[in-house]
Symmetry: D2
Subunit: 353 residues, 4 copies
């Protein structure tokens, strides 16, 4: 912490601030400048509340300096975290891009299988689908619940795809953790600290979406909640933030990808579907996300989006998803990444065993 | 919903859109204009997904018209909702301003009682204090839990103040609803739909804070979740939104007060403490909140803010809170409101019974 | 400036940063902390570019500490600036509230006189009206130009109102400064530095509106441009900023009023008309602006807003403006302000001389 | 325009609104719905002011439907605009990416030449450099003025690079238009309509940067100002917008690239230097900008950024710019673009003639 004194602050005022800092158990370091004095504060008692000093006579401003995150930081762990899904080749954060695709919500077995088959063929290794849906309106479709989870478990068996699906409260978390390979925590729950703590106690990787107006620091602190409970497998995900701009549903903030990578060892995906809210923007922003250096994508795909029970407007048709995969496959080498080749033989074979 | 066609859209394209609308079970109304045709959509099947039409040839844009909220709307109930606290004169939404004051967090019995005594003397009828604290950092003080709730119950008995305190998850909600008079749902949980639904099933009034980047519609829809489960006693609360502005912690959006009052029958308070994050801004913004027409305030007061375990920077000293009450007492008549007179006799008398 | 080193920075890295600071002509002050070292920088050479240090090994972050404004600051002039309009009782920044009212644009003599008569009767001392209009569309009404200025000069003679009107470029500035009592610079030109410099050379007060996304610092620096050229009579004006919120055209940021008053000696008005963009929000936000402590208001009034050539949606009817004045007259004493009494005798009398 | 009536609006209220619309010279189209009636408005008189209807009894909301831009729209011109620089191979908007690079400000002849030589070698065809600098502080370096323009004219002769430089007011515009190949209008002047009109009268292409909080519509309308005066050669440029996010100086909004391309025929560049404000973010965001489909980049390059007189923090070292060009050269084919090969022979040769 740094206290900046006013230009006209007297020596007594500077001394009084220093004494107050000492009385609170910290050590003051006065730095006299040409125009004004600044006072650095050190100590190993943890963060000091700025309010103790901000209103003293002669004080202009108090500036917070230390960053509050620890376990998510490269200060603690320098090398990138790679999250391997046990018993498979699938991983997030390694050299191969992690691609997650599927419908916004699981609506029925036929829908889910139709989409999963197409997703698997492209070379994606992860399938997404909501069983519990956080909807703005209480009158909108709220998801199939456990029945949806069971369908996804079947999809894992049949197509070999790893399952990513959202838990929306402590109750659904247990069930989701049982069925899913990766547990998603949505943007609206990014600061549901009770849920974060509980997610820190499960033994499955967690995909944590950035809140709609979360700063980088808040985003990392939300992840810190999970790590601090012992679960180190967190995948971050940028999904657009709320701004004044109205040509997309959210403003996709791709600059957070290199910013996260500088400060943290955790992998980060990009969600161009929620990030734009418009189908015709998903493909260009997917290319951009890979080019900026993201560890992968999470994309909504639906075989009949006009009749989708949620978010149809932003879901790709399967053919568009094929095109997306073809294009990012071309960009991957530029950022030293790879992508699994599309599958030739019928995926169904895999289900034979 | 309204479909706006491109300037050069052909008659066939217009016809195709109309047919698509009919095939989805709605009724199209083509409105030929000077430059382009628009197509209105009606039907009683509930909302249509815009995606079904947005990508058809000749379509420029699809505009959503209907508002999704029902029970919170003045369309359903024209007169203001007044929330009376049983067995007391305290109310929110009536002629008397509802003033809620107290520390950010309950830290110990002595602290809470010292503050409550001062709050009661000013004429405020509600005491706030956090027992469960949603903190950005997992390493920060997380609240006293049930022990804090018990201290607040004692404060109710002793000073006759009604208790407002936050529930942060389904687990704490039951306990909070047992001890508190009004259950608060914080800004970070405004779209924790699971918690909202559960809050709709309790029989205590709910104070719902606006999320950091919630639109008016999302705010009302969050309240709709509570009402839709049968709890009609919801108090809304503006507490500042996130913007680029950096001279306050959040940007207090006072214009939402008349905007809510136009659309909804629910009462709305203003929180100038979180809304500004700075002690010296709380008093002027409190005056402004009353002048704009809010039904009351929720304010942080602490007798020793420098040593407060959370949010000390934005807590008023008790003397400043006295001044605040004196000033809003002068503004109240301009907006046809009243405020309980400050108490002369020792508040302790009340505890005698 | 303060350089924050990484937790693991070596002594050599700290030393290298200190040497770099010295080589650039400044003085480093290393402050070893529990977790990391910070290095304060002082010197009287003016601001240093952070880039020189930000990318050195071991550097975590560079924090700018000094504020760049000088003449607008209370560091330079502690007492409030009061701007007196020569030859009149009108002033801005003193005990009496400064109220500016009138149509968005001067459309014709009849319109302007009809509105001015009503404005004068209420006790307002300033008349606003645009002769040069910055419009989003090149096809919209762009103002009457000098003919509009002449009408306003007549209004000054007839009703004794001081004239506030906007200059939109260096060309119009000369003409506006000749006719007007106060020259307005609009939000879109807040960082038109060429215009600001020229406004610093005229000998009329300047009303400077906050840009749509200007921080407090940028706002004060824009004023600094005017003062730095020798014109110390600047009136600031909050008129709403751009945010995600869509229930008003802009989000009126009333907290900037006390924030400006803390840092600067310049007076500040509030524009609730542009600040909300909706007629039914102007009255409540005007009350709030006075209650928060603003030095006055600038309000759009039109006798036939449905046919106004610009901004009709946010213009008050004259009767609504009467009500506004009556209400803020009640709030004024709470903030130790006064307001001229409404005029009883026909204003026209004044024109008799 | 569309008027949405309240759920309980009476038939008389609907009729009154229709009559009012007719009395203003437009045609109403009532669309009765299940819950409420909507009224479409058509007519060829140009836009109607919503205020005329918004406050009538029974009216819930008025929605603006028509878009106000004309000449910039694909409705008027379907094919992409390609801006060719006469007498050269340089172009913007065609198959070859348009790359503009150079220092923020021209500081002296040596600096400018040193940078230009490196820029030319990479295969970029445009050189940028500020002679007139819009600076937040009046005390900061304001540019070399005409002397800077002369240096850039020499650079054109010597290296064959086309010159892009900013005009900040009507006065500098004439001079800039004389020396430059492309005249830049900066973000702070995007709604300086006086300057836009004057730029519409010159016969040089104009590079128009998006304002810090400009919506897509306002951005296109600013371009419309230029086109409406007869200059059809406008290059748009995204340079980051202002949001709450603080990990970059601005939030680069890449989604506006496909959004512009859908609505307008004008080309659009991306400025990753101002868009991020941090050197280490320029390279990843440049890759992303090309991948999203932009027509090119404008990038700050400086051979000694630590001593740059402005924006050193975001300027690339020449070696980093070489790397940038190498990387986007790999991405170009994915988006069906090309890039001029880096030059082998000394660029100086060209100056020989």
């Amino acid at each position: 912490m740094l206290v900046v004194m006013k230009a006209h602050a007297t020596e007594e005022q500077v001394r009084a601030v220093c004494e107050r800092i000492e009385s609170l158990g910290y050590r003051p370091h006065a730095i006299p400048g040409a125009q004004r004095t600044a006072i650095g504060i050190t100590g190993n008692k943890g963060a000091m509340e700025a309010g103790a000093l901000e209103e003293m006579s002669g004080v202009q401003e108090v500036i917070i300096v230390s960053k509050p995150y620890k376990l998510v930081s490269r200060d603690v762990k320098e090398e990138d975290t790679v999250i391997n899904l046990p018993g498979t080749d699938a991983a997030v954060g390694g050299r191969e891009l992690g691609i997650v695709a599927g419908p916004c919500a699981i609506e029925c077995r036929e829908q889910a299988f139709a989409i999963a088959e197409r997703v698997a063929k492209t070379g994606a290794r992860f399938f997404r689908g909501g069983a519990y849906k956080p909807r703005t309106s209480p009158y909108a479709f709220q998801g199939m619940g456990e029945a949806g989870l069971k369908i996804m478990a079947e999809i894992r068996d049949r197509f070999g795809l790893r399952i990513v699906t959202e838990a929306i409260d402590n109750e659904s978390l247990d069930l989701v953790a049982e069925y899913a390979d990766v547990v998603q925590i949505g943007a609206r729950n990014m600061q549901n600290f009770s849920l974060l703590k509980k997610a820190g106690k499960i033994r499955k990787p967690v995909l944590l979406k950035r809140g709609m107006s979360a700063t980088l620091e808040e985003f990392l602190m939300a992840a810190e909640y999970i790590l601090s409970e012992g679960n180190y497998e967190v995948i971050l995900c940028e999904r657009g933030v709320r701004t004044f701009a109205d040509h997309t549903r959210n403003t996709l903030d791709l600059s957070i990808v290199p910013a996260v990578q500088k400060l943290s060892h955790l992998p980060i995906l990009v969600d161009p579907s929620h990030g734009t809210g418009k189908r015709d923007k998903v493909l260009p922003l997917s290319r951009a996300a890979i080019a900026v250096g993201a560890d992968g994508l999470i994309v909504e795909v639906h075989h009949d989006p006009d009749r989708a029970l949620s978010d149809g407007m932003q879901s790709l048709f399967p053919d568009q998803f094929d095109e997306l995969m073809a294009e990012i496959r071309q960009i991957a080498p530029v950022v030293h990444r790879t992508l699994q080749e599309p599958l030739r033989q019928p995926v169904v074979a895999k289900a034979g065993k």
